[in-house]
Symmetry: D2
Subunit: 259 residues, 4 copies
């Protein structure tokens, strides 16, 4: 599967501000970057650093006036698509060290509060089957409502309100998985089939010795997503962080399957 992806972001900046941009499909074994062009215009500086878990780059920029970002890439997905529902939980003492942080509570995922719910509702199955049941439970009980959450909304709120956007679905999914002692992180992606098309966020769980994508919204398939960034939750995967005042003018993402 090859995905042709474009992203256009236009912002008004005023005085020069430091910005962190994180919008490129990551160059990692599971997805081949066939070609890529990123144009951010002239900047005071432009620097790349490896992002969380060495997946993708964070790009630092500094400029004022107007920022017009144009990104275009073709990515060939070569992901292992084993059905995670068939996989076993990795015993805790065999977890790779770098996955352990994804058992911990994070900004939007106070996972420990969900321990009793997870035991009560999903206590009869384990590993990938448990993750599958959690995912289905979320999709069944939640309603996707654009604009129903904001930068303050955490998994606790979403779980009670039973609605949200992709990041909220992912936060609840991540929290439930961690409450079952299964490492879980959030992933920002470009994905086919997202309506309305935009940056998308899904969960990823560590089962059977590898990470597996799980989309509780049901909109995207693991084989049809290009990963941008991973993190503990939305606090880590913002596609644009400004250290100063900015105003969004326009944002447009397209994702298409190509031959």
């Amino acid at each position: 599967m090859k995905l042709a992806i474009t992203a256009a972001l236009d912002y008004r900046l005023g005085d020069p501000v430091d910005l962190m941009l994180h919008i490129e499909a990551a160059a990692i074994p599971e997805q081949l970057i066939v070609n890529a062009v990123l144009d951010v215009g002239n900047c005071e500086y432009f620097a790349r650093v490896a992002a969380q878990d060495m997946i993708g780059d964070r790009i630092w920029l500094r400029r004022g006036g107007e920022l017009n970002v144009r990104y275009r890439t073709t990515v060939e997905i070569q992901r292992d698509l084993t059905d995670y529902r068939t996989l076993d939980k990795v015993p805790m003492h065999r977890l790779p060290g770098e996955t352990v942080q994804y058992l911990n509570e994070s900004r939007y995922c106070p996972a420990n509060k969900f321990i009793h719910f997870v035991q009560d509702e999903f206590g009869d199955v384990e590993g990938g089957a448990k993750i599958g049941r959690m995912r289905d439970w979320i999709e069944t009980h939640f309603t996707y409502v654009s604009g129903s959450s904001d930068a303050e909304t955490g998994a606790l709120d979403s779980f009670v309100e039973r609605q949200g956007v992709c990041r909220d679905y992912a936060h609840v999914m991540v929290s439930l998985a961690r409450a079952a002692a299964i490492p879980a992180r959030i992933v920002s992606v470009y994905a086919l089939g997202v309506e309305p098309q935009d940056f998308h966020a899904v969960a990823e769980v560590f089962l059977g010795g590898a990470w597996h994508l799980v989309d509780a919204t049901g909109m995207a398939k693991a084989g049809e997503m290009a990963k941008i960034a991973v993190g503990r939750d939305a606090a880590d995967i913002s596609f644009l962080t400004a250290y100063g005042e900015i105003e969004m003018l326009n944002q447009r993402v397209t994702v298409e399957a190509v031959a």
Copy 2:
């Protein structure tokens, strides 16, 4: 400076539970482990994995009945003790990639909320001088009250309540630093001069190209601490995490300077 350290932890476990122990002084360049003995008794398994930022090890255990941990070490501190107040802030685009996560909000450190306070109160100084002023502000305005916080208490609560224990002081310090776009993490340590003696937690900020310890409680000095673990906040540096029911029977830490 050499520190002789002991820790004794006794827990009642009942049925076998998975446990994560994180109490050893880390073997890192800035502190030489002269000798160390860790005794956890017989376990179903015992596994070590590298912890956050490759500083120290997390140890996985599984056992039931009673857990009696005895740890003894001598650590020679060889830390660079440059006064952080004299150091410059690293421009964001020159931050090493692995420090960037420490600008983000975390479970107990919703740093963005403090941006206006930090600008108003500390806007006239930069870098290490700013960190110094923040530290002094916390020490002046806060009261150390044992038992005044719990596992739910975050920097927002502590900032308003103006009291807490070491982890709360560290959470506020970390939040203020991040709100000034200076990477900041929490560090669990064994430290001289902590009253009552116990595991201690302090902040660490990235200034002048390196990490520097900052104790807002004023109890411990950078040259008299042995680092155990680092993390985004207390969610990452728990010295004992149990995946099941346990009861603490006894906990005792000693730290002494030795020749």
Copy 3:
């Protein structure tokens, strides 16, 4: 049904502090105070004011040293025991003015967040039947765990954690009712059958033109409770509020059925 009730509270106060005591069974039509004795020792002052909704009295005291409260009463319950499950919801425009505040969100009952859950889970029934289904749902899904909550715990936490003590059960019950636009308040009571015996808290909902007691813990029956105080949530019905430092030494409640 007559209840013989005693309460003994012993506190160490140090310097004189202002105290608000709220422990007497209320003299209201639905319960006849057959006899009552309240002894609080010598105080700098002792003043009574009518409490929330004119149900019961708040008593202001000021004293130092030690406070020993002894209260003893016999109350004859004459409450209308119509099964609330058979009653209709009062149309909003016919709600008495003083009940409307009990539709609003309060400190521990952020009811609006529960609107979708309530529609999804209980949308097929109305009025008293809906309240009954909510109550049963809570009792089925929650576990009563002494010490599992504290003064910070709200209905959002309890709903996710699925455990708590009587006040937590009441907060969730109140929140669900308000989310269905049915006025709901909390009531502190002396009740038969509470294990361990202590002050108890239940919900009360406005159905069919009157208030009806609902105990989601299932421990107490409407005909076997003596009301002490009502309020929006636990913030209003504290049995002892101290405006200064105090230490609890002893607290004992007994409730018995008498001929």
Copy 4:
């Protein structure tokens, strides 16, 4: 002082919904309603009930389609304008019963958390002088930023963020007052001098045996406001509450001094 007030609210409703409207200047001794016209169009029903503390009316409506509310009144303010800064705190045991609820924590005002801050910062003055210092502190340290808060924002957030709109200023003012054991409530008002002109919210504190208006934003004067409603916090004084989906089309308030 006479105020000529108009309010126009236009909403799109779709299917018929229950609505609670609370926008009329209250008919209370301190302000004479010289004349008033309220036009809400045709409704399925229209019912008035006395609001919190018998100040003003809540109006229940039910209608679908479009709601166009037009309100016009002239109010003569006859308020006692004693400077609250000169007044004494009422000893707690002399507080009228109905003021005691305003010492308690509420949805947006978790006042107990502010006790240490209030002691540290304002511990050297009492009564009205203390309230005055609190008010000045808020005005000095906060910035009024339209759109900086939402329905989730409480006094804890605002205190840390040091910004907000009128309701946030009022919530912090109310919280600080209650933390000093001075009854405090929120009041929605029409006020001269509010920029941009809109419904306004201020605090009211109980000093010297009466309620006194306090505007921490500094925009409105006690003698130039017409009270609409009082409550524990913003949860009680919403000018329009819809029990169903609605969309705001237009809202306009004017307040002018007239001869």
